[in-house]
Amino acid sequence: MQGFLDWKPLHHSSFERKTFMTTPLVALERISKSFPGVKALDEVSFEVLPGEVHVLMGENGAGKSTLMKILSGAYQPDSGTIYIDGQPTAITDPLHANQLGIAMIYQELTLLDNLDVGRNVLLGQEPTRGALIDWRALYAQAADTLHALGLDIDPHAPLDALNMGERQMVEIARAARRASRVIVMDEPTSSLTKSEEETLFALIERLKARGLGIIYISHRMDEVFRVADWITVLRDGRHIETRPASAFTRPELIALMVGREIDTAVKRTDGAIGQVILEARGLRLGRRVRDVSLCLRAGEVVGLAGLVGAGRTQAAEILFGATQPDAGTILLDGKPVHFASPADAIRAGIAYVPDDRKGAGLVLTLPVSTNLILAALERVANAGVLSIRAIRETVAAWTQRLNIRAASPRMNIELLSGGNQQKVVLAKWLSRQPRVLILNEPTRGIDVGAKAEVHALIREIAAQGVAVLMISSELPEILSVSDRIVVMAAGRVTGEMPARDATEEDVLALAFADELIMEHSV
């Protein structure tokens, strides 16, 4: 029971919500939730009004996803109430949430790999004729949904033919179909590039116009300020502030999230750039990689930009021996090499941080500590026997260095927040101290403060003479961290430039260059 004296206003700030006029579509009131070893949410209140984008911000592990999982029925709160149209409602499970018109795009994609695109989009909502699924209607409806989003994805395509960005768009399409009241987007753009982002923002506008409420979680400041009507900040599971987006300045917002002021500007120390370590010549692989030549030098950060589907991930996987090219050569220290498997590449001093942390970066059944040492087992073992001490030291050093928040290193990695999982993937590869470091979306899902630290770390590693290749969909990241920028489009390198005086427009022009190439080659 709450006594009269315990009463607190929902939002202790001077900004008044328009809740007098409109009933919130959903309101979460004083929600608390604990997990073993951590209080993830402590009396958090939050609501969303019709036609509003309410952004939820906070550091990695602040409790954003947990709050949204409570709203979507995936978790039950320990205490607190959920109001739907002003009525207290217990949301029993995700299906129930769906029936209430609440749909969620989870941070970690939930598509089924063994089904095609159409079946994923309409999963659980398959049109039927009698007792049978009406396949023609299913693919027609899926095509409509995808088309309405401006997506050029074949509903018959098997899911594993799609890259991360395309998968994310399918996930968005699926949720958009289901939502009739509120749609929750938990880091929807983490694998998207500029042009898919635009598609998403157009979708958000349309959903707003239809009177839906949108809850949006992201660590990307630019897009937050672009889409947000209101912003709520969480820190360590507590509600800190709720204001209209226009009432925040960027440094202020960061300071509220982190609890102190930080500087996010990347300091580029112009170290000496040395010899070419790894070089690729004329790589080709099916339709995805048509002609890629690259060279990576000691001490240099090369930013690899391009649209989703440009073939950047495939090219990186070839460099790492994870995929065999149809043609092309790889040279290490000027000598041709053949990497039959990632193990070969790792032995040669190459490290690869993949973009798909759930599918390729982590073993979700294992604890944090085991995941962190998995790529360096020989370093923590003597004659095949693991040294508990060496493991503990490595894990302690890197959890501290990257500020990984885990209740215990023995806890299952699956239970970590998305950003903290990503930090484990980074630590796993950085702890090997490679000569060549290939990063694919290294800061995917990482909060602003930690992102600045990771950027500084990448520069520091390069300054020690490591050759770094960084694939990123975030142009500001590419522009601020790289020394040199290489742009790919439709499987080809379309140009490169020094990062020093490059602009977003320069990079985008090259990223869209394939359309020109296409016109000329046809």
């Binding site: 604990s34 997990f35 073993p36 070893g37 951590v38 209080k39 402590d42 790492f320 994870a322 498997s341 990632p342 193990a343 790792i346 032995r347 690869y352 993949p354 599918g359 390729a360 970066g361 982590l362 073993v363 979700l364 059944t365 294992l366 085991t370 998995l374 790529a375 087992l377 020989e378 073992a381 095949g384 026997v385 693991l386 508990i388 209740a407 215990s408 023995r410 806890m411 796993k428």
Partner: protein, 319 residues
Amino acid sequence: MTTRTSSAQRLSIPSEIGVLGAVIALFIFFSLASPFFFNPSNLTNLGRQTVLLAVTAFAMTFIILSGEIDLSVGSVVSLISIFVAMALRDSGSIALAVLIGVGSGVLIGTINGVITVIGRVPSFITTLGMFSAARGIALAITNAVAIPILNDDYLFLFQDARPLGIAVSVIYAVVLFAVLHFLLTRTRFGISVYAVGGNAKAARLSGIGVRRVKIEVFALAGAIIGFAAILQIARLGSASPEVARNLELDAIAAVVLGGTSFTGGRGSLIRTVFGVLLIGILNNGMNLMNIDSYFQFIIKGAIIVLAVLLDRWTRGRSG
């Protein structure tokens, strides 16, 4: 608000305590229900009866953790026991017999592994084939006639000896458990088994030779199965092509009862021990109570499903 985990959570005891609780409950139940259950000679007998299942379930644990399955273990035990009995009969050398037992186990396991991994045949199919073929070979070699074990030294070494008053086969099983547990939790190989079963793609990208690890797991499981056959013929005093029918099902049941994930990557040998004890005590106790063997099957089936249901249910609640 607590920011530190209790030691129980760190040792992940809570999820194992369910099965252990069932084991203890069953033990107490039979102690009360039958005057013959809780006495030294029956407990020794219980231990001896359970060794075969325990050792086989250890092998099965490795296989399941790596994301595979082995349906051939029962047939392979019977085939290898014939090999061992013949080697013993014809050479009289215990060392040679043991070598042949373990060696043929490694060979058969490697065949299963290579066909599964290199040939890309699902292990369910590969080992279903081996299940049928191994039993067939055993029957063909022996003409369906059992081979008696007449070597007293062999019988003493693997069955009759009782150091410290404990049945020697139980001691072998305990030592094997300790060795395998160390292998699984404290070596590169062990971690690789978990990684390969948990997420083969991530394991490969971490530089782990996924195919190699899987073949090694099959070979290791074969060696363990070979050892199971060595113990088994000492207990029965003969090698028969008919023994160990349904052993694969009991072994899989024991592993899953313990709570090891059927999809791989999650579980432990300790859990398997609990699963083995549950089935072992159940078999022994029901025999003592003279429960009709048809009913025994029914009760066992029901308890296996119930125990797993209960386990899932309590775990679903807690998190």
